[in-house]
Structure formats: structure tokens, C-alpha cells
């Protein structure tokens, strides 16, 4: 079988899939990328057993038949990178082998057994919802940083994807903070979606949507998240378990409310965080009339104070936070001013960092 395609298409497809190929695979076959040939398309597949990606490349010319190939990903990516500028690459497939030819030379590669490569199909998805890829990618970036890295709490290692009526909600939490983002979507069929997607999958969907540039359709079955684009699809296994009821964590009684310039707060808290250490990451927020004072002190490091202008008329108030959590929330914000809502000294604070985007951050007892 012979296939002709352009170097840039070959390079683009492979570099996208290389992101999912595990560097150290528990199963050796996963270190490969599977090639299948259908009509004038080359179907590339890669998986790490968590996320399965299928991506199509248009071929210029196809002749003959083949049952497919599994080629070692990193070697293939190196070849594709160097031939990215090539007008034409010829792939000749024979029994268990493949020859790649372009100007200047050729590579002969040995294929792994195609039958050994996992074949995953999306199964049991009740319906799909269309959403702009850029919007979905933007929503993901607003929650992904809050995903827990403690593997023992498996449900918090993922992001809750929740659709009801005409809203898509993404929620991530790690026990000390929670990030929620909500966007209106078109859902004429009233499809309900509720599942926990892995952080790795969502991170890959961001790359996938950057490549796709357009509308993505997504749907959930009992065990899978299925995202379809014009050039491929992503299938990811969901995390098993029940996500905590996130609405109950949002504080209902926050009597102090301040609006503050995001950049000014970000600079101030970052500077205050310089005077903290690994074991004691605490910045104290002191609210007083028309002012917010941030201070930090670590015995072996030193101390710092920063002032930020705010409109505040209420009584003096003190609360402390881990500066990293506040910095993460502010970095993900794309608005000029953020709103902070505070209740008691020991209750969670709400950081409204954008349109329908909130961060709940637990305070730290500083004394």
C-alpha cells in the first residue's frame, strides 16, 4: 500500500498525538501510534489508557490496502518534525513494515502488532452538545489549576462536568479551594450531563481545540467522555465516584464585600508571598476603611507589608490565606476588577474573578 501526504499535515497530526503517548508505558504497545487507512484518510490513534485520541489526516493519494501499523511514537515524531517542510512524504506499507520516503532519503520502520493496540469506541452516549472549542478551552483553563494532586482522593483528581438546561458548569476542587465556571450553551434537546473527567483529558482537549479551531461536540456515557471535532475525536474514561455537592460549599452569609483591581492585588500578594516559606505559606489580609493591607512574616525569612486601595466602609477585619491559591485564582481571571466576599474569619471566602466564575478559598488560622 502507498500513501502520499504533505509534511506539514503529517507533522501536525503526530505532534498532537505525541502529547498523549506515555513516556514510560506500563504496556509497551502504548508507546506507539496506530495508523489505519480509510478512503483517502489516514486515521492516527494514540492512548495512555486514560485518554484515547483519534485524528484524521487527509492523504494526497492512496493506493492498495493494509490492515494498519503501530509505529514507535517518539522516533516517528522526530522524523515528522524534520520533514515538516517537505511537500510530499510517501508511506509504503508492506507486511509488518513501513518505509517513509521524502526528498533526500528514507526510513524503514518496523510495526508492532496492530491487534495488540487498544481499540476504543465511544459507546452509549445519549446525546451531544455543541460548544465553541475556544470557549470550552477557556473554561477548562479557569478550573484546571484547582484539581487535587492527591491521588488517594480520586474524585477530586478530576473536573466535574455538569450540564443542566442551558448551562455548562465545570468544577474543580482540592479540599482547600474550589473553582467554578459556568457558561450558557445551546441545549435544545435538554441533554443532561454529569460526570468527572480526568484533568489530563481536559488538558488535552485544550490542545485538541487549538488544533481544531471550531465547534466541538461533546457527550457523556456512563463511563466515557466523548469529544468530536472536524478532524478527530477524543474519548476519555471517566473517574469513578460521586463528586461532592459543590453548591453546599459556597458560603451563603458573606457580609463584607470589596471590589479590587486585579493587577494591583496580584502584584501585592505576590510580593507579600516572598516573605513566606514552604512550611508556612500565609498572607494576612487586613481590611480597614478604604484600604486592604497584606502582610506576611516568616521567622527565618523576614516580613513584608503591601497596601492596596479598595472601597470598603465596614468594620476592621482580618483573615489569612495561602497566597498560592489567591494567585492561581487571579491569574486565571480575565477581568479588570475582582470581587472578594468575606464572612467570618474562619469561613471560606468567595473570589469572583470573572463572569460567572467564582473561587472558594478556605482561610488559614494564622495565630
Amino acid at each position: 500500500m502507498n500513501i502520499k501526504l504533505t509534511g506539514i499535515d503529517f507533522h501536525k497530526g503526530l505532534s498532537l498525538l505525541a502529547g498523549i503517548v506515555p513516556s514510560v508505558a506500563i504496556k509497551s504497545v502504548l508507546q506507539g501510534i496506530k495508523f489505519e487507512f480509510k478512503d483517502k484518510k489516514i486515521e492516527l490513534s494514540a492512548t495512555d489508557l486514560e485518554v484515547f485520541v483519534r485524528y484524521y489526516i487527509e492523504a494526497k493519494e492512496v493506493s492498495g490496502e493494509s490492515k494498519g501499523l503501530v509505529l514507535h511514537a517518539s522516533r516517528l515524531c522526530n522524523i515528522a518534525r524534520d520533514w515538516a517542510g517537505s511537500d510530499e512524504i510517501l508511506i509504503s506499507v508492506s507486511e509488518g513494515n513501513c518505509v517513509l520516503k521524502s526528498k533526500g532519503g528514507y526510513f524503514k520502520l518496523k510495526s508492532d502488532d496492530v491487534e495488540q493496540f487498544p481499540s476504543v469506541r465511544a459507546d452509549g452516549v445519549s446525546g451531544y452538545i455543541a460548544v465553541d472549542g475556544d470557549i470550552l478551552s477557556n473554561m477548562i483553563s479557569k478550573v484546571l489549576y484547582a484539581v487535587s494532586t492527591i491521588k488517594a482522593r480520586s474524585v477530586l483528581c478530576g473536573v466535574l462536568l455538569w450540564v443542566e438546561e442551558d448551562a455548562l458548569v465545570l468544577v474543580a476542587a482540592d479540599g482547600n479551594r474550589m473553582s467554578i465556571v459556568r457558561r450558557k450553551i445551546l441545549n435544545p434537546d435538554k441533554i443532561k450531563i454529569n460526570g468527572i473527567a480526568t484533568a489530563k483529558c481536559l488538558s488535552f482537549i485544550q490542545k485538541f481545540s487549538a488544533e481544531e479551531k471550531g465547534v466541538l461536540k461533546f457527550g457523556l456515557s456512563e463511563s466515557q467522555l466523548h469529544v468530536i471535532g472536524s478532524k478527530g475525536e477524543v474519548i476519555s474514561q471517566l473517574i469513578d465516584g460521586q463528586y461532592p455537592k459543590y453548591e453546599e460549599v459556597i458560603p451563603k452569609e458573606s457580609d463584607k464585600k470589596i471590589e479590587v483591581n486585579k493587577e494591583a492585588l496580584l502584584v501585592a500578594i505576590r510580593m507579600a508571598s516572598y516573605m513566606t516559606n514552604e512550611g508556612y505559606r500565609v498572607v494576612r489580609f487586613r481590611l480597614k476603611k478604604n484600604g486592604l493591607n497584606l502582610s506576611s512574616r516568616a521567622a527565618d525569612v523576614g516580613e513584608a507589608e503591601q497596601d492596596v486601595d479598595v472601597n470598603y466602609e465596614g468594620p476592621d477585619f482580618e483573615i489569612s490565606f495561602n497566597p498560592d491559591y489567591v494567585i492561581d485564582a487571579l491569574k486565571a481571571s480575565d477581568v479588570g476588577n475582582v470581587v472578594i466576599e468575606l464572612g467570618r474569619k474562619d469561613s471560606a471566602a468567595i473570589f469572583r474573578t470573572g463572569h460567572e466564575q467564582i473561587n472558594i478559598i478556605m482561610p488559614i488560622e494564622s495565630e
Partner: protein
Amino acid sequence: MSFKIISCQDRVLKFFQNAIKNNRLAHAYIFVGQEGIGKTLFSKELAKAIFCQNSSFDACDDCNNCKRVNNDSFPDFFLTVPEENSRVIKIEQLKYLQEILYIKPIESEYKIAIIQSADRMNEEASNCLLKTLEEPPLYAIIILIVTSLDLVEETVRSRCQIVRFSPLSKDFVKNNLINRFQLNANLAEQLALISNGSLERAISLADTQVVQKKNWLINQFYKLEANDNLTFSKELFNEWHIKDLDTLEEKRGLVKELIFSFLMYYRDLLICKVGNLNIPIYHDKWDELIISKSRSLSVDTLLNILNTIKISLEYLDRNANINLLLENMITNILCLQTGNKISLLQ
């Protein structure tokens, strides 16, 4: 291959066939039994029987799923073994497993994780595994393969169903050695006897010519004097070529066999002493030498010697220095044999 290749484990086989038929598979099992009797093989066959596309209660060995389990490439089947040059399962391996188990199965209803040498985990790794055993996902089947339950943390043990594997029959081991490894009948018979029902051990004994070394060892036992302890342990190291081996793991393996030879010899003496000559022995035959040697030792002495050897085996598993361990064991044995007559000023 399928359950048909499983030999000498009829009870276990019936138990699992019933469990598959009645859909009553537990979330966690401990397969316990000595090394080389087919625990991992059985667990793989069990996984194939569960994942098989053509058959409900056994593996067809023909479908894609069975072939992929055989090649360890089936996406819902995970076999975790100690890494190269390591005897223990590392916490990183368990963390990876934990992570992957909470992701729903890809191609089947179950996710099966087999952890080999699960009795060789440190406390930290045990605790990591415990978390998964406490709240296993509905689709998970975790199989821990161990040689001794004593080394498994009580908290882990109490959350698993324990399945005991029997040693293989002597005839089965012997026939395998003759048919599969083309050994002569006499050597196969001896290896089958000393391997204690473990085919893997019999094969490794054949490779290291332990039968010949064991015979040399027994001849030396008769000549031993009270003050020979240190010279004898040096001789042992030379004669068994322990120092010639490359890795510490190989050395430990051979020292273990050496200590087993001590154990077998004194076990035979004890049997001879109590006079029950119908119990099978590791010795070729009841000869005059062994009978006369057994007469010179009391039952208590023999029991104490066996206990000393058993403790040495335990120390070996806990990474004791092999030179000191052998010297200490031989000194203790000779002390017991001669009634503590060894001078400390040698």
C-alpha cells in the same frame, strides 16, 4: 492455554469457576502459597476467563482479548511486578495503579490488577494500597500474590479474600522436568523431591546444580568437628561458588537454597529419630550414616537446630549480611550439636 493447564489446584479452580458463574467475584483476593506453584499463571488465566469474548467461564485463548492478556497489552489488565534489580513493590508503582484503577474500565466490565510479591511492600506502600482496598471501585478486582501471609499487614489481609494454593504434586513436577526440560528421570526425581512442589524452584535448582552441591554438603556434615564453624562457612562459599555470582540478589537466592539444604538434612534426621520411616525424605535412601547421626542427637536438639535454621531464613529475607548469617547459623548449629563446646577463642 486456559484453566485446563492449571494443575494440582482443583479446589481453587472450582471456587473461581463457581464465582464467575454466579457473578460473585470479590474485589480483592490474596493468593497465598510458595513460589513457583502457578499463582500468577492462575491469576492470568482467571483474567482471561473474565475478559474472554467467546467463552463465559474459561478462556478460549483464541480471541483478541485472551491474546492481549497473554501479551500484557489488554487495557483493563495490569500486572505489577517488582522492578528490575528490586525485590520490593515500590510506592510509585502502587500510586500509578491506584490512579489507573479509579478510571473506569475501557473495554470490559472489570479492571483486574495483579500485584506480585505483595508481601514485599514496605509500610508506606501497604498504606497506599490499603486506601484502594478500603474503597475499591465497583469494577475492580485486585489480586495480591504472596508467599507468606505473615508478611502482609493485618489491615490489608482483613480486606481481602484469602485463597490458598497447594504445592504441585511430585509427579507433576517430575514429569514436567522430563518432558519440557529434557532432564533425566533420576535427576528429575531428586529435583521434584527437593523443590517441595515448586516447578519454578526445581528448574532454578537444575540450573544451579544444587543436587550435586547438596550431596557434597551432606558428606561434609558427617565430618564436621565442633570448631569447624568458620572454616566450614568459608568452604561453603567457595564450593557453592557464591562469590562468583554477579548480583546480591543471585547470591541471596543461592544462600537461600543452601539454608534449605540444611533444613532438609535436619528434617530427615528428625524423621529418622522419631522412627517414622514411612514419611518421604529428601535423602536418597535411609543409609547407615544418617541413622547413626540421628542416634547421636536428641529430638530437642534437632528441633532447636531446625528453629535456628528457620530464624536464619527469616533474617535472610530481611537483608541480613549473608556471610555473617551463614557463619552465625553454622556456629549455632554446631553449638547445639556438640552441647556448646565451641571455644570462643579460636
